[in-house]
Each structure stands twice: as structure tokens, then as C-alpha cells.
């Protein structure tokens, strides 16, 4: 949408939302949030961008192919259960690396959540850019 007021605001809002989405992702294990909410939020951020600047600009901005995002996300999520298997434990048994201040204990579970985040983001992007791409 060619609205100066919107575009100016959107720059700020998008940035804010993306940062916020990562925050939500990382602290999700301990506070409300997590991969879904983070991914959706990031998707909404890009939706805002696309609505403000057009979907081509958004694609340029993202740089990453959303389909690849899906692939990486799925591999991270499904793969997060593999280390346990290689150690002879049940699939998806939690593997913990250590504590990070502000996030808490970090391990395979976080990898899983990151995968979730990427998949949700990728899918949201595919849907939105796909639909809006038809408008351009």
C-alpha cells in the first residue's frame, strides 16, 4: 500500500516485531512464548512489511527462500531427536548443553523450538507472499 505514513511506521514496527519474535522464541521455555508464537510474530512482521511495501520488497528483504526455511526448520526439529538415538536413548530424549543467562537450560529442546519457529515463519511467508504475489 502506497501510504507514506504506513511505510515510515512499518520500518520501525517490523524491526521491533522481528526482534521481539526472537525474544519470544528464546524465552518460550520459561515464559509465555516459544517457537510457534515467535514464528507467527515474525510472520506477522513480514506480513506488515509486505502490506506496506509490496511483496517483492519483502522477498528482497528476507533474502532467504521460505521453502528452504521450511526444510531447515523441519530438519532441525526432527533432527533434534537424533542425538539421543545415537546415544542409544529413545528418540527425542532431551540432551542438555548448559545454562545461558536469560534463557535457562539450553539443549536439543531449544533446537526443536527453533525448528518450529523457522517452519512457522517459512509457511507464513509462503502463504502471504504467494497470495500477495498474485496481486503484483
Amino acid at each position: 500500500m502506497n501510504a507514506l505514513v504506513l511505510q515510515t511506521t512499518a520500518r520501525l514496527v517490523v524491526l521491533l516485531l522481528v526482534v521481539f519474535s526472537v525474544l519470544v522464541l528464546l524465552r518460550g521455555h520459561n515464559e509465555p512464548g516459544g517457537g510457534f508464537i515467535g514464528g507467527l510474530l515474525c510472520g506477522l512482521a513480514f506480513a506488515t512489511h509486505a502490506l506496506s511495501f509490496g511483496v517483492r520488497a519483502t522477498r528482497r528483504l528476507m533474502r532467504i527462500d521460505p521453502l528452504r526455511l521450511l526444510g531447515v526448520g523441519l530438519i532441525l526439529a526432527a533432527g533434534s531427536g537424533l542425538p539421543a538415538m545415537f546415544r542409544g536413548q529413545a528418540f527425542m530424549t532431551g540432551q542438555w548443553l548448559g545454562s545461558v543467562p536469560g534463557i535457562g537450560k539450553v539443549g536439543s529442546v531449544l533446537v526443536f523450538d527453533v525448528g518450529v519457529y523457522l517452519v512457522v515463519l517459512g509457511a507464513a511467508m509462503l502463504i502471504l507472499t504467494g497470495l500477495m504475489g498474485e496481486e503484483d
Binding site: 523441519l74 538415538m85 527425542m92 530424549t93
Partner: protein
């Protein structure tokens, strides 16, 4: 060994993800597709062998004890179904190397196929009701996309109807699962088996009502009368490979769930399961009658899928007979018929694909003369067609015999009569195709130049025909397996023991009472 039950889920999903990573390269997609299917097949074979030898394989995902985590529990029934999915997946994958266009591949054909297989695998292996719902959705959405992949009007039309009706079923399933959780407060199937005893004591009508809703939801997925509309409206629209994989798996998952739930969670719900049996009988007839009016090969096959679901479900419906011997016969018949139909119907759809490739259409009127023009194709059609019609010595005959024996043993004569009548009409339908496409002379106004059939298209069909014919000539391995699987299904106590549901530790026993409406945190 510990990893075995998760591999049929994990391998295809990881392969699908890998496919998405390199989605621009058709070659990469094909390589990943075949690799994933081969891997899945290997895992499935290993699983079948292991389960048949050592009994149920149980994996507590995340090492959380049952019923708290999600349990993957592979019994004979589940593993053979995984085997069916894997085998058909592999065949269709190879077939699609030649059939799927570049356009299809770019649109994610192979990852979608793999996801479908992964979802099916999950559904067959999970020991958790909600997880079953999730895998249902996985395979459902993959099938949504596959059905609409062609993007033509027919595909889109079929897809809309398919999506709409299946979503109603999904919502029903979800709601029923939620209500069941609200009632029994557990989701693990083994744990539910125990909890439902208590539920039945407190409110037997509740158990029956839930059983009915689950039956309806699964019957819709299985395309049982009068909930089958989605199937004839949509099964025939995608490419033959997709049709084949659908025919092999989609309705089967519904039947699988029906079996699982009615052996484990709602055993002895006689009213509901009797209704299922009656519906099964009607389904057999409705399906074949529907096929009579059709003059397009895939549509005919689709209608027969409905009819055959009736046969398959009839075995489940025999759970309404209190005699465990009859129940075992019925379930064994269901297993045999599932495998038979899963392979044969898919083979026929693939043959339709061959005809489509050769003649440019699967409409019966504009083609003809294939018996002379392509004798090999004629053999590839005739053998599975006879099997579908239940003529011996074919897998279809043994499957039908198993169903009929079970029905006779259970004394359900009307259903038996329906099965016989439907059998005759099935012969008629198959011979209609044979007459029109193979025996009839090619219409003189046909201007189509037949195309050559590439090896990738033909090889899987040949393998399938050989395999199913072997199954017909030497049925005992399958029959015996089915018998053992049925016995296992009818022993829920063993299932519960294998899953290892633990009584909750003492300190958590002071359970929060979530059923009561209270607002403890906020003062009044």
C-alpha cells in the same frame, strides 16, 4: 531396535525436508524421493520382521514414561500397515519418476509424497489418541496438496470437496478426542483402555456416545456409507500415481483407526459396531452401483474403492459378535483385505496411468483395442482386475473368502448376501473396462498416436502384478500373519502391558481437580 518404531516416521519426514532444501533441482528431488522411500521400505521390513518375531515394539518418545509422553507402539497390525504404506510408496515413487512432470516436481510432489507416507506411518505406529489426530492431519494436508497439484479444474473441484468433507471429519475427531480427554483424562491408548473401564462404570452412556462419534469420524475417513461422498468426487482427479497412493492408504487409515479404537478403547460397544457392520453392507452395494454408471477408468476404480471399504469394514463390524473366535476371523479378514485392496487397487490406478500415458485419456469410450495393440498392458490390467473382482486364485479371492467366512461364522447373512452381490457387480465393472479398453476395437475416429511407455512407469506395475499374483497363489504367509495380528489385536491386556502404563507416582496422586469449576487463584 529401540529406534525402529520411529524410523518409518522419521525417514520420510527428513527426506521431505531435504527435498525442500534443494527444491529447485528436479534431480535432487527425485534422488531424495527414491532414497526416502527405499529407506522407509527397509525400515518397514525390519519392523515387520522384528515385531512378528519378538512381539510388540514400544518406544517412549523422549524417554518419558507412558502415559505421560507419547508412546510409539508397533504391533503386527500396525507394522504390516506400515509395510503396505512403504511398499506402495516406493512403487509409486518409482512410477512418478516418469509420471510426475517437472511442474509437479517443482510444486513439491516428492516431499509431499514423503510427508504423506510419514504421516501414515505415524498414524499406524502411534499409541496416543491425540498424536493419532496429528498424524491424520499430516497425511490429510499432504493429500490435500497432492490432489490439487495438477491445478486443472477437475483437480481443484475434487480438492474442494475432498478438503471440505474431510475437514468436517477431522473436526469431529478432534472434538471427540477432546471430550474423551475431558472424560478419561488421559490420551495414551493403553491408558485409555484402563480408564474406560472406570468411565463405563460411572456413565456407560458416555462411553457409547463417544464410541459413536469416533465411529462416525473414522467412517468418514474410511468412506463408509453414508459418509463416502468425498471419495467418488475426488479420488480420480489427481495423477495416477497419486490416485494409487491414495487408494493404498487414505481410507485404510480410517479403517485402521476404527480397528484400533474399537479393540482398545471401546471394546464391546455393540450398538455402535453393529451400526458399522450394517453400514459396511450398504457400502459394498452403493460402491458397485456407483461404478456401473461410470465410463472413465479412474472413476470406476474410485467407486469400487467405496465398495471394497465395505468389505474391509465388515470385518471390523464383526466385533459386534460376542464370540472372540468370530471377532478374530473378522479382524483377520480386515487385515487381509486391507493389504489386498491396498496393493491391487493401487496397481489398477497405476495401470490407468499407463493407459493414460499411452492413449492420452482414461475415458473408456474413445479408446479400445489394447488387447491386441499392447498385450503386456492387457496382462497387467487383467490380473489385478480379476483379483479385485475376487476371482481365484488371487489375493482378492482369499480376502473375500476370509470376509465371507467370518460373516458366515458370525451369522450375519444379510451382509454376506450384500458381499456376494457386490462381488458380482465388481466382476461386471472390471469386465466393462476390459471390454471397452482392451477388447473393443479402437474407435475409427481416434486420432491419438499411442505413446511409448517408459520403463520407470512399467517396472513398478510389473513388480506389483507379480507380487500380488504371488500373494494369490501362495496366500498363507499373509493369512497367517493376519491371523496372528488379529489375535494380538484382541488381546488389549497384552498391549497395555507392552506399553507399560505405570500407575502415577504417589506424590502426584493428589491430583488437581480440573473437572470442578473453581477459581482458587482468584478469590471470589
Amino acid at each position: 531396535m529401540i529406534a525402529l518404531p520411529v524410523l518409518p516416521i522419521l525417514i520420510p519426514l527428513l527426506a521431505a525436508a531435504a527435498g525442500l532444501l534443494g527444491w529447485r533441482s528436479v534431480l535432487w528431488q527425485r534422488v531424495v524421493g527414491v532414497a526416502g522411500c527405499v529407506g522407509l521400505f527397509a525400515a518397514a521390513v525390519a519392523l515387520i520382521v522384528a515385531v512378528d518375531r519378538h512381539g510388540m515394539l514400544v518406544l517412549q518418545v523422549g524417554a518419558w514414561p507412558a502415559p505421560f509422553g507419547i508412546t510409539l507402539a508397533a504391533d503386527r497390525f500396525g507394522s504390516i500397515m506400515v509395510g503396505l504404506a512403504a511398499f506402495m510408496g516406493l512403487m509409486v515413487c518409482v512410477f512418478s519418476l516418469a509420471e510426475a512432470t517437472r511442474r509437479d516436481v517443482h510444486r513439491g510432489f516428492f516431499p509431499l509424497l514423503l510427508v504423506l507416507l510419514g504421516g501414515v506411518g505415524g498414524a499406524f505406529l502411534t499409541g496416543d489418541l491425540f498424536n493419532l489426530y496429528v498424524w491424520f492431519e499430516v497425511l490429510l494436508i499432504a493429500s490435500f496438496v497432492l490432489i490439487s497439484l495438477g491445478g486443472g479444474r477437475a483437480q481443484l473441484e475434487g480438492a474442494v470437496k475432498y478438503v471440505a468433507l474431510n475437514l468436517v471429519g477431522s473436526m469431529l475427531f478432534l472434538t471427540a478426542t477432546g471430550v474423551l480427554y475431558g472424560t478419561a483424562h488421559t490420551l495414551n491408548l493403553a491408558d485409555l483402555h484402563l480408564a474406560m473401564h472406570e468411565v463405563r462404570q460411572q456413565n456407560p452412556a458416555m462411553a457409547t456416545a463417544l464410541a459413536a462419534v469416533f465411529a462416525i469420524a473414522f467412517a468418514l475417513k474410511a468412506a463408509v456409507f453414508p459418509l463416502f461422498f468425498w471419495l467418488p468426487a475426488s479420488y480420480h482427479v489427481p495423477s495416477a500415481g497419486v490416485c494409487a497412493v491414495f487408494a493404498a492408504l487414505l481410507t485404510k487409515v480410517g479403517v485402521y483407526a476404527l480397528v484400533r479404537v474399537f479393540t482398545l478403547v471401546f471394546p464391546g460397544e455393540e450398538i455402535v459396531i453393529t451400526a458399522v457392520l450394517i453400514a459396511a453392507g450398504i457400502t459394498m452395494l452403493t460402491g458397485v452401483l456407483g461404478a456401473v454408471t461410470q465410463y472413465e477408468m479412474k472413476r470406476i476404480l474410485a467407486w469400487h474403492s467405496v465398495s471394497q471399504v465395505g468389505y474391509i469394514v465388515a470385518g471390523v463390524g464383526l466385533l459386534c459378535v460376542p464370540d472372540p473366535a468370530v471377532q478374530a476371523l473378522g479382524l483377520a479378514a480386515t487385515v487381509v483385505f486391507l493389504i489386498h485392496h491396498g496393493t491391487i487397487k493401487s496397481t489398477l490406478f497405476l495401470v490407468a496411468g499407463l493407459i493414460d500415458r499411452r492413449e492420452g485419456t482414461t475415458q473408456l469410450r474413445p479408446i479400445g483395442g489394447l488387447a491386441l495393440a499392447s498385450p503386456g498392458l492387457a496382462v497387467l490390467f487383467l490380473l489385478p482386475a480379476l483379483s479385485l473382482a475376487g476371482l481365484p486364485p488371487s489375493s482378492g479371492f482369499w480376502a473375500k473368502l476370509a470376509v465371507l467366512s467370518a460373516l458366515a461364522e458370525g451369522g450375519r447373512w444379510w451382509v454376506l448376501a450384500a458381499a456376494l452381490a457386490a462381488g458380482l457387480l465388481t466382476i461386471m465393472s472390471m469386465m466393462k473396462i476390459w471390454n471397452e479398453a482392451f477388447w473393443k476395437e479402437r474407435p475409427s475416429d481416434s486420432s491419438h498416436t499411442p505413446r511409448r511407455l517408459p520403463a520407470a512407469l512399467v517396472t513398478p506395475v510389473v513388480l506389483l502384478v507379480l507380487g500380488t499374483t504371488a500373494l494369490g497363489v501362495w496366500p498363507q504367509p499373509l493369512l497367517g500373519y493376519a491371523q496372528r495380528a488379529a489375535t494380538q489385536l484382541l488381546d488389549p491386556a497384552a498391549y497395555v502391558e507392552a506399553v507399560g502404563v505405570l500407575p502415577p507416582p504417589p506424590e502426584t496422586m493428589e491430583a488437581i481437580d480440573v473437572t470442578a469449576e473453581s477459581s482458587r487463584a482468584a478469590p471470589p
